[in-house]
Amino acid sequence: MDADRRLTDTEADMALRDLFRANGHVEAPAGLDARILQRIAVAPKPALKPEAELLPKWVWWMLSAGLVCLTVFLLAKSSGSEPSVLSGYLQSIPSFSFAGVFSSPWLWMGCGSLALLLGLDVALERRRVTGAAVR
């Protein structure tokens, strides 16, 4: 190949990637795993951090305060003789029979399926962790 020809950026990247892949690794010394595990054996156990909250506490406080204010405002408005905003909202909620909902076979079949799937998931997970490869 003509040594005077300049490589394009892509060709240079390919050439260097191939060179690094074939010759760029430095083997870790023998026994390194054991030495690390020895150090870990005397090191403190990893600290499990709780997952971050979805919303910070101050947001919950603000939302609660806002809800209280809204409730007080609506109650204050409803104390007058005219039909209030609150009573208007309450009237717009459709009424339904709880007895009818709980007597539906669909609800109980849904709950049964959920319990069955959750139980199956727990059983399979336990089997995978304990039984798969205790060596």
Binding site: M1, D2, A3, L7, D9, E11, A12, D13, M14, A15, L16, R17, D18, L19, F20, R21, A22, N23, G24, H25, V26, E27, A28, P29, L32, D33, R35, I36, L37, R39, I40, A41, A43, P44, K45, P46, A47, L48, K49, R128, V129, T130, A132, A133, V134, R135
Partner: protein
């Protein structure tokens, strides 16, 4: 009823190994070490350029990773998270060495050994690459290694090193040019066979 056996499973994948190791399972962490020791050692060696120091940095990296596994949220690839620990550990060790020796002259001033020189003369590509990388600043040698060897994206290198994306791109561009110059000089005609292979 038989005696209850302790829960100690051989992980079947990285995700499971991380979950088990985060609960203190040394067996699972040994699996992680086996998977990543060469990569972490390579990154440490590219920065420190000293076998014993690179091993020490590699050990420190894995101990830190073990102790902080609970903080790994899975937002980035595990390898990226591990490399960021390795990079910071090696850079910190390099700074300590410089402070101890009171010198900044060793920045990229790795003198090739006689064996390396002979190997390069014999057309040994590994030696030529090591020699070429030794002529780059340590941080840059690690960055090109991440890019070409570990095939990390610029975004991943930014995460690992904490440098800006434009800075990483500029460094990669300069290093590529410099590496090619050095390799062409060291390997002479053979350098041109690199792209023909």
């Amino acid at each position: 009823m038989g005696e209850e056996r302790p829960i100690r499973a051989t992980p079947v994948n990285e995700h499971e190994a991380i979950a088990l190791a985060a609960r203190g399972d040394h067996h699972a962490f040994a699996w992680i070490i086996g998977e990543y020791k060469h990569m972490v050692h390579t990154a440490s060696y590219r920065i420190l350029r000293h076998r014993e120091e690179a091993e020490e940095a590699t050990q420190d990296t894995f101990v830190k990773a073990y102790q902080n596994l609970g903080g790994y949220q899975g937002g980035s690839k595990f390898s990226t998270w591990l490399f960021s620990i390795a990079y910071r550990t090696a850079i910190s060790q390099l700074r300590k060495r410089r402070e101890a020796t009171g010198s900044i002259d060793d920045l990229g001033a790795h003198e090739p050994t006689e064996r390396e020189t002979l190997a390069v003369e014999a057309g040994d590509r590994t030696a030529a690459l090591t020699k070429a990388l030794a002529q780059l600043p340590e941080e840059d040698a690690a960055i090109v290694s991440f890019y070409y060897l570990e095939e990390m994206s610029v975004e991943e290198i930014v995460t690992v090193t904490g440098l800006g994306a434009s800075n990483v791109k500029v460094k990669l561009h300069r290093c590529r040019k410099r590496l090619l110059e050095i390799l062409q000089h060291e390997l002479k005609e053979e350098a041109w066979t690199l792209i023909a292979d």
